[in-house]
């Protein structure tokens, strides 16, 4: 667990330092719909997964408020 925490901290540091400067006109591929992450879909999935598994999270949304768990 401690190793994972350190890995996560290192990952965050890497992100915060900024790995590259990509100009807006270079983001055509990043803007393609197949690159989008749907939070609505992730939250729908999390709802039924929470009813079948003992863990939660990863969708980046607010928690609580559902008896369907």
């Amino acid at each position: 667990m401690k190793k994972l925490r350190w890995l996560w901290v290192l990952g965050m540091a890497q992100v915060l330092m900024g790995c590259a400067t990509v100009k807006p006109y270079e983001k055509e591929n990043l803007a393609d719909p197949i690159m989008s992450i749907s939070s609505a879909e992730a939250l729908r999935e999390l709802k039924w997964l929470e009813a079948r598994e003992g863990s939660t999270g990863g969708a980046g949304g607010a928690g609580g408020g559902c008896a369907c768990k």
Binding site: V15, R52, E53, G54, G57, G58, G60
Partner: protein
């Protein structure tokens, strides 16, 4: 009962008010309206079936982004499939996660519905939200807030969010378990960073925590402890946290690869690893296929036992919930989405739309399996 009617009235009132408000909002300068409808169907090997409908509407009012979502879930718990009075029937009734009383015959299907409404407003990166959910035995409300900001030449997005929910639980009449009113409170927080790594790669990392207080076991379920049938009992406080990361890579043959990982842990002793991979591929200009696989493994709670041999369980706690034990699971499936382009003009809708259909299968090491089917339509006017 009075509570139930009141909450249904509140929900119906909110829907009616929202619909009635739409024309007025239109006159007030509504722009970029979009609506989507998603139908999902879940069915598992235990006979539980959930039919969910999601209706989402969004628009802009000057600089404010508005969204409203209504969700309706229809859940069917199967009847006890064993001869009345048999030991198998007694065991099934004891461990059922549904009320059993004169009004809820164990040899008949039990049906419950859930309605929820979620609204949010977004202004220059700030988000405020409110959520209300109504069931016959559960009433939940939540307020949420968030802020996100682009920095480093719009190559890094930092997001912070939090929420507080307060739930009122009023178990229905049940023959042999606990039905006193109770509550649950949840405080949630998250920090997420999304970084553009290259022209075709993004990385997202985040962490979340939840502090949950109040009733966290099934009030309808009993557990055999030292040969005696007693109500399930979980701790009333739980601290949950997770860290996650996902990489999204665009590939030059018009496809993309998404790899994600999540670690979860809590103070009940449950810990888990989840890893997944998704491949999106354009088949034609408007048709996209997606294939996915997810692996999940978890270690169980410290008080979970397959059999409780000592009176009092483990430090007074006992559970019949397999989700708190050790197990592993696999999920795989596919999705096809079709951008209709101008096709909807033929039926009088001059707006781009997207149709989606997905089929997924879920298996775990407890001989459990489920099928999840979703279909949806999104229209951006």
């Amino acid at each position: 009962m009075r509570l139930q009617v009141t909450h249904k009235g509140l929900c119906a009132g909110m829907v009616a008010a929202s619909v009635a408000a739409l024309p007025a909002v239109g006159h007030a300068g509504l722009s970029d309206p979009a609506v989507s409808y998603t139908f999902s169907h879940y069915a598992d090997v235990h006979g539980v079936a959930v039919r969910g409908q999601y209706v989402t509407a969004s628009a802009r009012l000057k600089d404010i982004g508005l969204s409203l979502q209504w969700v309706n879930d229809h859940v069917v718990f199967p009847a006890i499939d064993a001869p009345p009075g048999s030991q198998e029937a007694v065991d099934a009734i004891t461990t059922a996660s549904r009320p059993i009383s004169a009004n809820a015959n164990p040899y008949e299907d039990y049906v419950k519905t859930r309605n929820s409404i979620e609204t949010s407003a977004n202004y220059h990166g700030y988000t405020l939200g409110y959520y209300v959910s109504v069931e016959s035995d559960y009433f939940a409300q939540m307020v949420s807030f968030g802020y996100n900001h682009d920095v480093l030449g719009d190559n890094l997005n930092l997001s912070f969010g939090g929420s507080y929910s307060w739930d009122h639980i009023e178990p229905l009449a049940d023959n042999d378990t606990q039905n006193a009113p109770d509550y649950r409170r949840t405080v949630h927080g998250n920090v997420i960073a999304t970084q553009v790594l290259t022209r075709s790669t993004t990385l997202r990392v985040g962490t979340e925590f939840n502090k949950v207080e109040g009733l966290q076991h099934d009030p309808y379920r009993n557990v055999y402890v030292a040969g005696t049938n007693v109500p399930e009992n979980h701790p009333t406080e739980r601290l949950r946290h997770d860290v996650f990361a996902d990489v999204n890579q665009y590939i030059n043959n018009r496809s993309s690869l998404n790899i994600d990982y999540r670690y979860y842990g809590d103070d009940w002793g449950v810990s888990s690893h989840a890893a997944g991979i998704k491949l999106n591929q354009y088949v034609t200009e408007r048709l996209v296929f997606r294939y996915r696989y997810r692996y999940y493994t978890q270690a169980g709670a410290t008080f979970y036992r397959d059999d409780y041999t000592a009176p009092g369980g483990v430090h007074g706690y006992m559970t019949g919930d397999y989700r708190l034990g050790d197990f592993g699971a696999h999920l795989f499936g596919g999705r096809v989405s079709w951008n209709t382009g101008q096709w909807l003009r033929r039926i009088g809708v001059a707006a781009p739309a997207q149709l989606m259909f997905s089929y997924e299968r879920y298996f775990n090491s407890n001989n459990f399996s489920a099928t999840i089917v979703e279909t949806g339509l999104s229209i951006a006017f």
